[in-house]
Amino acid sequence: MSPARRRLRNYLLLGTAVALFAYALQRLGLGPISLLEAGLLAMTPLALAAVGECLNEKAGVVNIGMEGIFMISAVTGVWTAEAFNSGVMGLLGGAAIGAAVGLALGAISVYGRADQIIAGMGLNIFALGFIPFLLISLWAFPGIHLFPNELMVPRLFTPLGQISPVTVGAVAVAILAHFLLHRTVLGFRIKAVGERPEAVDVAGLRVDRLRLLTSTLGGALAGIGGAFLPLGWFGALVKEISAGRGFIALACVVFAGLEPMLALGAALLFGFADGFASAVAVTPGVKERIPFYFVSMIPYATTLVVVALVIGQRRFPRTVGRPYARE
């Protein structure tokens, strides 16, 4: 199938899915406004993490530990918010810890020539244990931690419903990343180092610095996304706060072929699936008809189906995941 026909087929499929979706919504009696709100909220952490990882993978580094960063920054964010009595500070705290973790992962990938996928997985496993540990150590309650509502990041009120400023920020980040990658000298070098680090090295540039930069930046963005989960969306901190969203963000990156704007689109798509699931789960009259568990599967099944349909047409930089060694 030629690329043009394939694109047409994909758009048709997407259009059909959206139409079915809208019909289902109407039948279920779900309001479009609340759905839009839920979808945008769900999109935010995905978009932030995915855009960061796009840059990272363009530079040839893979971070599958975004799930772990989400979890760690969620807890750190809440703790920082409580310490400074401000939700925004909480987001910054999440960014800081995310950047630190991103830098550490980047360092062991670049200098330690680590197997990046295993290291990322190690981070996720670490977080799986560390988060309950933190919850007990910090707040002495293993399952859930509630914090005062004033600490939430305040929302903006628009005619289209409530929207979080972080969501607007996520969109801005995606646009900025696009310009960075395609219009600036730095973006040019990032693309080069992902395709052929040897070329960058012999050109006299620092391969390690470029990769550390994208690693740290990606980590920071994922950190904001992670802190957003309790502080901007759920309003509470539970140990399964991330619930695989870090991997859905990874799916966004794959779907987008490492293009930040497409990653934003993918995050929107998967965000809607997520938002739809939450909306169905709480809407009276609906939640009795469809079992909660099947509704919960929707985001994951959607991701799987979309990735299965779309993959195979994307081009990745040659050296993604492979450490660069000069000798």
Binding site: E195, E198, V200, A203, L205, R326, E327
Partner: protein, 522 residues
């Protein structure tokens, strides 16, 4: 157009962390305006020495002086600042970038966070092209350019940074004869304008043609440095390998027998769907070596893949020992008596982390002799067979259980060739069989191929090394852009004619009608 500095490398040692000694106390000097050839066989240390000079590696001991000042290069950027740049054997181009983008990388105008602007750079590059006489298309993606042009982009990259000392590592390995002449003319022009050039090669003839002085390395040590005017092939060969003449393989003239391989009107496409083998017919008979000469990238890889079951042919017919082959599976070809020595042993023919025994059965793992009824391996039989291989083909290894990675390149190839020959093939397809090997292994492998020929087997040899083709083949075909541009008995052609054909030029006085294509048995 700055004059080059004087380079003085003294007592350079390079020892790798795992203990390998690559260089042992080597001295090297370079004056502006001269072209120095750095000669040695594969593994002698020439590339290592120049990587040190260009800042990619650091010497374990020794010093480098530039214009009598000691310098320490921590990375290629330092060396570039001193005016020293290297064009590597494996190009360091970013494939999807254009030539202009590749040249500009690292030297972009403006702040990193600022916009990419290339107009000023374009003007500078165009001026440089005019000054040096180089011709390079600036706005095509480099991966779409032919190898000869890619090399020019690499040279342009180095010159753009103001290098006055240009190091070229085996620059002619992928070039046609015409391109080689163009390159040499260009290099002489550069030298005349005051730059210094280091020409790394293992080819005696080229070294004698282009250089002013020859420096010879062997086993990481300096064995001699002579002005080219005083050098003879015998002298250089002795310095390079310790013997007066590079050994040639002897051949007896014997008539060929029945055809073992007949190919008619073969058409093969590559992964992108382009036809890279177009209407190709050929024949290999018992007791003959057919050599396919040609620069890499003219369809040889795909042709070999089609003849060994790794790629389907879109059109045409393949006949092995009289039977038409329709299946597309490597094991099917092996079963019918085809032995395949692949173009890159480490990539296609061996599993480097597996031991000798497991590599000995690679591609033979389904044979009755080694597998019992339920799919279980008979390790006793396999080990005995592996031991035989090692003895018969003199593979030097620490033991049968040693990982093949620990073997030298020559021994790895011996194991591979031995394995293929032990399949009792009727046809042996050998692709670049001695590339990168030391001289002893090279001679051994070539002798093996000739011996196979004398025993009545058919050999299809694909090589970009013209000397190898000339030395071994009974009949030669030159492949260019997917078809044979010329073919005939080996003694029908001169070396120059074959070189021209490799570049796509049909030699004067030989139009297509006078070129005898291998007889296709109808």
């Amino acid at each position: 157009m700055s004059g080059a500095p004087r380079i003085d490398m003294r007592a350079i040692h390079k020892i790798y962390p795992d203990g390998t000694v690559a260089l042992r106390g080597v001295d090297f000097r370079l004056q502006p305006g001269e072209i120095v050839a750095l000669l040695g066989e594969n593994g002698a240390g020439k590339t290592t020495l120049m990587k040190i000079l260009s800042g990619l590696l650091r010497p374990t001991r020794g010093e480098i002086l530039v214009d009598d000042r000691p310098v320490q290069f921590r990375n290629p950027a330092d060396a570039l600042r001193a005016g020293i740049g290297m064009v590597h054997q494996a190009f360091t181009l970013v494939p999807p970038f254009t030539a202009l983008q590749n040249v500009v990388l690292g030297q972009e105008d403006g702040h990193p966070l600022g916009p990419m602007r290339a107009e000023a750079a374009r003007r500078r590059v165009t001026a440089l092209l005019a000054e040096t006489g180089l011709s390079v298309p600036l706005d095509l993606s480099t991966e779409s350019l032919p190898i000869g042009v890619q090399q020019r982009v690499e040279i342009l990259k180095t010159l753009y940074r103001g290098t006055s000392v240009l190091i070229l590592d085996e620059p002619t390995s992928a070039l046609t004869l015409t391109e080689v002449h163009d390159l040499f003319r260009f290099l002489r022009g550069l030298a005349a304008r005051g730059r210094a050039i280091v020409f790394i090669s293992h080819k005696l003839k080229e070294v004698l043609e282009i250089s002013d002085r020859v420096v010879v390395l062997r086993g990481g040590q300096l064995t001699g440095a002579v002005p080219t005017a005083q050098a003879t092939p015998e002298l250089l060969a002795e310095l390079m390998v310790g013997r007066k003449v590079v050994p040639q393989v002897s051949r007896s003239a014997k008539p060929a027998g029945q055809p073992v391989l007949v190919v008619r009107h073969l058409r093969v496409t590559n992964d992108q769907g382009t036809a890279v083998v177009k209407d190709l017919s050929l024949q290999v008979r018992e007791g003959e070596i057919v050599g396919i000469a040609g620069v890499e990238g003219n369809g040889q890889s795909e042709l070999v893949q089609a003849l060994t079951g790794l790629r389907p042919a879109q059109d045409g017919e393949t006949v092995l020992s009289g039977a038409v082959v329709r299946h597309l599976h490597p094991l099917e070809f092996y079963r019918r008596g085809v032995g395949h020595i692949p173009e890159d042993k480490a990539r296609f023919g061996l599993a480097l982390n597996f031991d000798l025994t497991e590599n000995a059965i690679l591609s033979r793992q389904r044979e009755r002799a080694f597998v019992t009824r339920w799919g279980r391996f008979d390790w006793g039989a396999i080990a005995a067979y592996a031991r035989q291989l090692v003895e018969r083909f003199k593979v030097v290894a620490l033991g049968l259980r040693a990982p093949v990675r620990s073997l030298s390149g020559g021994n790895q190839q011996r194991l591979l060739v031995g394995r293929e020959l032990s399949k009792q093939p009727v046809l042996i397809v050998a692709v670049h069989p001695t590339r990168g090997l030391d001289i002893a292994s090279t001679v051994y492998i070539r002798e093996l191929l000739v011996r196979m020929r004398d025993e009545g087997k058919g050999v299809l040899l694909v090589s970009a090394d013209l000397d190898e083709i000339l030395e071994l083949s009974d009949r030669i075909a030159v492949m260019y852009e997917g078809a044979f541009i010329g073919a005939g008995r080996a003694d029908e052609f001169t070396r120059e004619e074959i070189g021209l054909m490799m570049g796509g030029i049909i030699p004067k006085g030989r139009d297509a009608s006078t070129l005898a294509l291998p007889p296709a048995a109808d």
